[in-house]
């Protein structure tokens, strides 16, 4: 193509648009591509002219403009796919695998002897940065402690393990469930939406007492909530 001095070189642009037709783009008609906006019949400048001026390089040259737009579209598409794929992979694969190899693996038979889930360490506690952590042990046939008092609307980190078989804590009234497997610690950040009692029945058949297996979370307003002092673990009375 020749060297065209004018900004919208009409005569530089060929009227045949093989790329546009290959792409099947509806933006292009045979003789009036989007980027080729003639000043011939217009007296004012409109948005199309602005676009053309902004993305001048994309529009000035039909063939390379199309190619460049396709490339950018391809790159954006790849990045979007990568973002979704990697996010999913992180939460579904990376985290569990890392936890499997490097996570804390308590021995279900000796939870009461040492480690994070000794009975003096169960219940709600406050970390150094002010966040709240609740530790529970699932066993046949109860969740210990049987009642946890939490403030409404504050994310609470729940860490649960099992002393014998697989149990699932289902937080009734929410969409949360935590699977407690022996030998692993399940961690989840939960937030309780309103004041009241959220029952925690067991949602994985664990034996003869499964159907009576239940704990509860008591969500209180933030003003009424007393965070446990340093070194203290708190749990409300069972009933």
């Amino acid at each position: 193509m020749g060297n065209c001095a004018q900004p919208w070189p009409e005569k530089c642009i060929s009227s045949r648009l093989p790329h546009a037709q290959d792409l099947g783009s509806a933006l292009y008609t045979k003789n009036q591509p989007l980027c080729h906006i003639s000043m011939r019949n217009r007296s004012t400048i409109g948005p199309m002219h602005v676009m053309q001026a902004t993305f001048g390089r994309l529009c000035a040259d039909e063939e390379r403009g199309t190619e460049m737009r396709s490339k950018i579209g391809l790159v954006l598409g790849i990045l979007a796919f990568l973002a979704v794929f990697l996010l999913m992979r992180y939460y579904e694969f990376d985290l569990p695998v890392w936890n499997y190899f490097f996570g804390y693996r308590p021995d279900p038979l000796s939870l009461h002897l040492s480690g994070e889930f000794v009975e003096s360490n169960l219940g709600l506690t406050q970390e150094t940065d002010g966040s709240l952590t609740a530790r529970l042990v699932a066993q046949q046939f109860l969740f210990v402690p049987q009642c946890i008092e939490v403030p409404v609307g504050v994310p609470i980190r729940f860490r649960v393990t099992s002393a014998d078989v697989v149990h699932v804590l289902f937080f009734a009234g929410t969409t949360y469930r935590i699977r407690a497997a022996p030998g692993y610690v399940s961690e989840s950040r939960l937030q309780f939406p309103h004041v009241g009692t959220f029952s925690i029945p067991c949602h994985e058949f664990c034996g003869g007492g499964h159907y009576a297996m239940r704990s509860r979370v008591l969500a209180v307003p933030k003003e009424q909530f007393h965070p446990p002092q340093s070194g203290e673990r708190s749990a409300c009375a069972p009933h």
């Binding site: 190619e67 396709s70 490339k71 391809l74 790159v75 790849i78 990045l79 990568l82 973002a83 990697l86 992979r89 992180y90 990376d94 985290l95 890392w98 804390y104 038979l109 000796s110 939870l111 009461h112 002897l113 040492s114 994070e116 000794v118 009975e119 003096s120 360490n121 506690t125 406050q126 970390e127 150094t128 940065d129 042990v137 066993q139 046949q140 046939f141 109860l142 210990v144 402690p145 049987q146 860490r159 002393a163 961690e187 029945p201 034996g207 003869g208 007492g209 159907y211 009576a212 297996m213 239940r214 704990s215 509860r216 340093s230 070194g231 203290e232 673990r233 009375a237 069972p238 009933h239």
Partner: protein, 260 residues
């Protein structure tokens, strides 16, 4: 894009994608590395029992000799009866107790995790190696009735209304309070390691232990199980359960409808 030959990294789009993949993977692994559980200072450690049910422990506790136990248990007759049934309501019957829970209670008496003045005195004169033998012997004793023996068990029938309360708790528990059915751990239906069978136990003893669990004066249950359950029960329910088992209604899974 009419290139016929295209290696992924030769196109600029491919390079961007590769760079993005590498960066995101690096960021992901950094996030994983940064995840570590932050533990604040723990309160004073309290261990409920030194016993944990590893395979070695189970083999040790259940490997006793019945004959040795027969000889050694004669000194236990004074309180616990010659046939494993005591004549006093607050002294437990030892007949029919499974080896593991029997052995665990002896260890807890020795270590002080279960406070009992009399048992700690007595066990000073029993070698720890004899504990599995005693457990083996008492587990073999029958729990059928013997009119010639002076026994507290079975006691009189439960008070009015208590049978219903107790039967419901034994067979169904109470889901609202999270109380599991007694028979799922203690009963004829199923047994959990460490939970003794209650079918031939005295009323006074069961009531005493339930009350001790409720105010945590007895605290050798692993993972706060019995303390939670007993604290959730009312006084009347504890009495009802003690009378139910003490009258022999826990003998078989038919429960209240069957005589001992």
């Amino acid at each position: 894009m009419r290139r016929t030959e295209s290696a992924p990294l030769r196109t600029s789009a491919g390079r961007v994608a590769g760079l993005g993949l590498a960066m995101l993977t690096i960021v992901a692994s950094m996030m994983l590395w940064a995840q570590s559980s932050k533990l604040t200072s723990k309160p004073g450690l309290r261990v409920p029992s030194d016993v944990s049910w590893t395979e070695d422990t189970i083999a040790l506790a259940s490997g006793g000799s019945v004959v040795r136990g027969l000889i050694l248990s004669r000194r236990c007759d004074r309180c616990h009866g010659g046939e494993g049934f005591s004549s006093r309501p607050t002294t437990p019957n030892l007949a029919g107790l499974d080896r593991l829970s029997f052995w665990k209670q002896l260890q807890d008496f020795r270590s002080g995790k279960r406070p009992s003045f009399i048992m700690q005195q007595v066990l000073q004169f029993v070698l720890p190696e004899s504990d599995p033998d005693l457990a083996a012997y008492y587990s073999m004793l029958p729990t059928s009735s013997d009119p010639q023996d002076v026994r507290e068990f079975p006691s009189a029938a439960p008070a009015a209304g208590h049978t219903t309360i107790a039967a419901r708790l034994v067979s169904l528990g109470d889901g609202r309070r999270g109380i599991p059915p007694c028979q799922a751990c203690h009963g004829p239906v199923a047994f959990v390691r460490g939970a003794p069978p209650l079918r031939a136990q005295n009323t006074g003893y069961i009531l005493e232990q339930l009350e001790a669990f409720a105010d945590a004066s007895r605290a050798n249950d692993i993972n706060i199980s019995m303390r939670s359950i007993s604290a959730a029960l009312t006084d009347e329910e504890r009495r009802a359960l003690a009378e139910y088992y003490g009258a022999g209604f826990g003998m078989n899974s038919a429960g209240a409808t069957a005589a001992p």
